[in-house]
Amino acid sequence: MREFTRQVSVLGRRSIVRTLRQPASIVPALLFPLILLAVNAGGLRSATDLEGFPSESFLDFALGFAFLQGAVFATVNCGTDLARDIQTGFLNRLALTPVRGVALILGQLAGVAALAVVQALVFLGAGLAAGASVRAGIAGALVLLILSFLVSVAFAGVGALLAVRTGSGEAIQGLFPLVFAGLFLSSMNMPRNLIEADWFRAIATINPVSYLIEGLRSLILEGWNALALLLSFGIVAALILVGIGGAILALRTRLARV
């Protein structure tokens, strides 16, 4: 167990240092969600005039989405970094050491996890500074940060799974539009009950991303909504199981292959 902890810690430190040394990974992950938040909060303010809209401020409504958009960068960053390790032969060399696959994946997630903490704090801080408020109070803000962190880790796990399966950084980058589609075809810009197009409402309803956003949003707009939070945490748990669990299993094959 001690050896395993040491392996995770060494690989984790490497992952964090690598993330910190790549401004191209950090700056867009922090900046783009904030830009989109500002643009949408301003451009869609009139949507709050619609009957039944759950908030008087579109900033409050849109804030939850910033956390999720930040998590998309986690998918791409983690996937690209791991794919680069495969392409450069780092993983091949690791296969000659006693390092365990679980330690490798967990260590790889450390960089994204560190970035996720910074992202969550920055997004919440920027939102509050711009006038947003969290209806669930300080405890709700803490749950918001935890949920946001877990969503990033879960998305990073999916990125890791894709990286291990494809072994190609370009393939990960190519999947970015699909991940982005998952975000846009959800209730990110409008509550599901106010979406007029039936086909779009149906897609948003079966899209798990909607429930992730609604869980985050519920803490800001409603206070404590047990169902929304349960769905959100449940989907995160499933994603972690599929992503991280799948990556660990797939890594066995890849390490055996080398």
């Binding site: 191209a24 700056v27 867009p28 830009i35 989109l36 643009v39 301003g42 451009g43 869609l44 303010r45 009139s46 949507a47 005039d49 619609l50 370009e170 980058q173 190519g174 970015f176 539009p177 982005f180 589609a181 846009f184 075809l185 209730s187 990110m188 810009n189 409008m190 106010l194 979406i195 007029e196 197009a197 086909w199 779009f200 897609i203 948003a204």
Partner: protein, 262 residues
């Protein structure tokens, strides 16, 4: 006279060669053309699907429906980003060393910029045809009929301005890492305009910025063309031509910069 003819001939030959190579690379690699096609379609689908209720907001009055309202934005966006994505290709050519060989071999280097501009146009036309088809399939109506054609002329000028801006950046920095410097200003200019609702319905700080944003003039004129009530046409075309000329100078100076960098 003969010399001028030869210079003209080499300009065309270089432009044609660069354009063909770029278009060939673009359409033979899905990782290049899929994102440039997927993103505008995604924006169109997500905006029209999710935000149709905005037509119920007081002051929102647009005959062609929300599909038409968003179609103009997405068309202008594809035009601008068609240019920007071609700028990525220029930066990639510098990273691989191809652009340096091209600078050595081309008898007329201005033809290089023209070639990339033609490629950007070809890429945009392809995307615009698909987006237009999807918009019609989604139920868009065009009350103006053939009167909508100036919208495409306007988009063409924007596409030219986009590629000239991006090529100026790419030729100065000569690395793909310059991508955000090409993309972010265009993205901001596009989204700090009346994207979701008309200018009159926008409120607060974004209204103040949108009033002076050239993209607002493009969108308002474009939406006017679609419904057959053009307004602000002179301003929109004037701004588009001014941007084209300014970024033309920017691109040519970028070319000089690349030439002198060795």
């Amino acid at each position: 006279m003969l010399r001028r003819t030869r210079a003209g001939g080499s300009f065309i030959a270089v432009a044609r060669g660069v354009a063909w190579r770029n278009l060939h690379n673009h359409f033979s690699h899905p990782m290049y053309f899929v994102p440039s096609l997927v993103f505008p379609l995604l924006f169109f689908t997500a905006f029209t699907g999710a935000l149709g209720a905005l037509t119920n907001v007081r002051g929102f009055d647009f005959e062609a429906g929300y599909e038409g309202f968003q179609y103009v934005f997405v068309l202008i966006q594809t035009a601008a980003f068609g240019g920007v994505f071609t700028g990525f290709a220029i930066a990639r050519d510098f990273e691989t060393g191809f652009a340096r060989r091209l600078l050595l071999a081309a008898p007329n280097r201005k033809g290089i910029i023209a070639g990339y501009a033609i490629a950007a146009l070809g890429r945009w036309v392809f995307t615009a045809v698909i987006v237009t088809g999807v918009a019609f399939a989604a139920g868009m109506t065009v009350p103006a009929g053939p009167g909508v054609l100036p919208l495409y002329a306007l988009a063409l000028l924007i596409n030219g301005a986009g590629i000239l801006f991006a090529s100026g950046v790419a030729m100065r920095l000569r690395t793909v890492q310059a991508g955000p410097l090409m993309q972010t200003p265009v993205f901001l200019a596009l989204f700090l305009a009346p994207v979701y609702v008309p200018l009159a319905v926008l409120e607060g700080w974004i209204h103040s910025i949108a009033r002076y944003n050239p993209v607002t003039a493009f969108l308002e004129a474009g939406r006017g063309f679609l419904v057959g009530r053009p307004s602000g046409v002179g301003l929109a075309f004037g701004l588009a031509v001014a941007l084209l000329l300014a970024f033309g100078v920017w691109a040519l100076r970028g070319l000089r910069n690349a030439e002198t960098s060795g």
